[in-house]
């Protein structure tokens, strides 16, 4: 069962090959090779790291939220979850997690969905899907908006009830909590560190995340 599955990592930050602070509202696109480990740290707590994954060798094969939850028959991601692409190819596996539960049903915020969820005048506000699109536009001329799929929201809490309710709650995360994943196949990771100011997913206060990579 992939929920509230706390596992701490043995890895030492001093031994990392890459270490970057990503401010809220910023994007990050990076390819991790098989065996490499990526840690995402919720530096100040209650932040949402909206993340997409692509088969680095075939970027048209994107992360599939549905295939991933279907395979584990559980909608929350935690230690042990294998994140898979639309084709079924295994991309990364979560190997440590001090938060315990991550969302992949809630999707990324966008200018257009903000107008629906909050009010028409939120259209100009910065949002995750704009960040995704800017990164993709710079990344590979072959990718288009059609390559954007439902993503993972690390550290985000979207409880679903047996009666079918769904809502965005204050996070189950806290300062310093992290999630760590190991690449099974070469995987391009696309992150938007969410700038959302309208809901409690990041406590109305978007904050930085830290991205740390170890080689195998």
């Amino acid at each position: 069962m992939a929920v509230l599955n706390y596992v701490e990592s043995e890895r030492k930050v001093e031994e990392a090959i890459y270490n970057k602070k990503l401010l809220s509202g910023e994007g990050w696109l990076y390819t991790i090779e098989p065996g490499e480990v990526l840690r995402i740290v919720d530096v100040e707590g209650n932040q949402a790291a909206d993340t997409l994954f692509y088969d680095a060798d075939h970027p048209s094969d994107h992360y599939s939220a549905i295939n991933t939850i279907l395979r584990q028959r559980n909608i929350y991601l935690s230690t042990g979850s294998v994140l898979i692409a639309e084709s079924g190819k295994e991309l990364v596996k979560i190997i440590a997690d001090t938060c315990g539960r991550h969302d992949t049903i809630g999707g990324a915020c966008s200018a257009q969905s903000n107008t629906v969820r909050y009010s028409h005048d939120t259209l100009p506000m910065h949002n995750c899907r704009d960040t995704f699109m800017l990164q993709m536009a710079k990344f590979d001329k072959r990718t288009t908006k059609r390559d954007l799929a439902p993503n993972v929201n690390f550290f985000m809490n979207v409880p679903v009830t047996p009666a079918g309710g769904l809502r965005f709650d204050d996070g189950v995360s806290a300062p310093g909590y992290y999630v760590e994943m190991q690449a099974i196949n070469a995987t391009t990771v696309l992150i938007s560190n969410c700038p959302q100011l309208n809901n409690p997913c990041n406590a109305y206060n978007p904050t930085p995340i830290q991205l740390i990579i170890w080689d195998k």
Binding site: M1, S64, E86
Partner: protein, 246 residues
Amino acid sequence: MNNTVSSIITKTIPAGGKWSARIQRGKEITFTALEAGANVSLLLYNADDTAERYNMPDTLKAQYTAFLTKGNVLMTDHGRVLASLVEDTVGWHDTISGYSTRKMIDEKYGKTTYQEHRNEWYRSGEENLMVELFRNGLTTCDLSPVINLFSKVYCDEEGNMNFVEGHSKKGESVTLRTEMDVLLVLSNTPNPLDTRNTYLSTPIEVKIKGAEPVLENDICLKHRDENRRAFENTWEYVMLTKGGIQ
């Protein structure tokens, strides 16, 4: 033959069948299960710009629900309404379980081939959808979460997904009203979480006719403020691209 709003088109989608069509704004599409235990996996795109499509997360979070029923609308990734769920005798339609794959069907129900079984071989949602997407100029990168009409899957407190057997009965129906010109793609294949170990797929009737105009007291329009704003976005789009709202 004439083209008045009373014109009705009826299709029967057999067990394992697939279908796709471009359907104009302002139509009612009624799906009727001809046997118990139906499941129809459905994708929807803006017919004029297929890069705009049904977005499961946006649809669910705007309506604070993890399933679909009467009063809900199906939203695009551009904050617009593709179609509204205007009638429903079933009460719960799944949109978090996705479509069945070839691997899944072979492993669960036993391998079948056309060579051996002719048209009785077991079709998968994956292949049905891929063929219809490709036929309409789309590719596998356009695959996205589907709506599984007639199926109920709920999550317990720990997030485990549970398929409810016997959820939909023979004769039950659900009606979608198109709010923009759409490309509809469907596969009449088992839900991936179906707990029965025989390949059960039941024929579906699809009936399409002209819809009444959306009135101020429309159940989908007034379901939530979020729905109204999505309709307003849609109407603006129709004004800009079609020159007005009929």
